[in-house]
Symmetry: none
Subunit: 224 residues, 2 copies
């Protein structure tokens, strides 16, 4: 069951949002201000948060910042008209998308679904990073219109890195995870696969990510 936190001090809007989302089969946890919203975040396992900017006690910026710091979930912000300047600020602190009041409920629902789709490790076999999509069932990497099938090892390597963006993997860890603990071969094999992956990522333009070398440690996937 997907659970969504709706934080808005205006009861009407709160109910409106909840109504439409419930119709989609989501379970809604409601909060009337920022403090309450944070309390609910701590209590419930939340998949996505819809956050109004203007709220008593703790405003939407503050709340979103805290959510992003402690949870790895998408946040949809609700802004009033004329707060457009703030939008940037919102994205900086990790908002994923926003709607402007008054908004079309259908559009809001669409955005929520898009965010869930984007964030979801769809059936654990599809993950996203930057502009690329990795489909494990097809060993396929795609970006925009182009897509390409990768050799098994290369795919697994990329998939592993992308499954924890930012995390540094040592060669040893990668070998354990992909080749298995009893692999006898050379650690440098990883380097070669990394090189080939980089070539592919270069040929695909606008991938929005790269594999970075952490000298002395290993590799990591990084947005760019």
């Amino acid at each position: 069951m997907i659970q969504i936190l709706v934080a808005d001090d205006d009861q009407h809007i709160r109910e409106l949002i909840s109504l439409y989302l419930e119709k989609q089969g989501f379970k809604i946890i409601k909060a009337a201000d920022g403090e309450e919203a944070w309390a609910k975040m701590e209590e419930f396992r939340i998949d996505l948060a819809v956050v109004d900017i203007m709220m008593p006690f703790k405003d939407g910026w503050e709340l979103t910042k805290e959510i992003k710091e402690y949870f790895d979930i998408p946040v949809l912000m609700v802004t009033a008209r004329g707060e457009s300047h703030d939008k940037l600020k919102g994205f900086d602190i990790g908002t994923d998308d926003y709607v402007v009041k008054p908004f079309d409920p259908q559009e809001m629902v669409a955005r929520v679904k898009a965010l869930l789709r984007r964030y979801r490790v769809e059936a654990n076999n599809v993950i996203y990073m930057g502009n690329i999509k990795l489909d494990r069932t097809k060993l396929e990497m795609s970006a925009g219109e182009t897509s390409e099938q990768l050799p098994l090892k290369e795919f697994e390597l990329l998939f592993t890195l992308v499954s924890s963006p930012g995390k540094i993997f040592t060669r040893d860890q990668l070998i354990q995870l992909i080749w298995g603990y009893d692999y006898e071969g050379d650690e440098r094999t990883v380097d070669v696969h990394i090189k080939r992956l980089r070539e592919r990522l270069n040929h695909m333009k606008n991938v929005g990510m790269e594999i970075k070398t952490i000298r002395g440690l290993g590799y990591r996937a990084e947005g760019c």
Copy 2:
């Protein structure tokens, strides 16, 4: 607030465990069988699960496996005497620790705390000082919007200093801690790394801390 799931079909044991854990200030979410436990996992944000092996509908193995697949939390299993063979199986699927019935509630509490500590410590790869944040998994230093990746030695040096703010480290101590006791090189190497760190900290504005020289002794991290 730390929230713990207690899954046991025996009401007495469930209450016993809950009682002792509540006394420690934890919030307890209770479940009487595996299915219910999973439902609670989905509903609440759980920090740790205490799981009995023998449960109706979905046994402890199954439950633990699912928990481990979808959540990154420690699981303490409760086994009946004579299930010792199964213990291994339990560890295979990712149990972190177990107690054997009948158990000493004090011991159970101790194990829960140890698990929380262990998991926290492992999450202790991030420390803060002033306005900077140091993420050891990424070798990353960030302050506000900007962040930067440091070379290994520089990072370890900064991390060491910041992990005990105010404490004076001699060059010798730093070398022992970072380079190892068998380092043969020059003590002055520390100075150079300190210098480079200071350059970085200067370029980052508003870091809220500095590395101070204690003439004749060494260095320390200081708020400012």
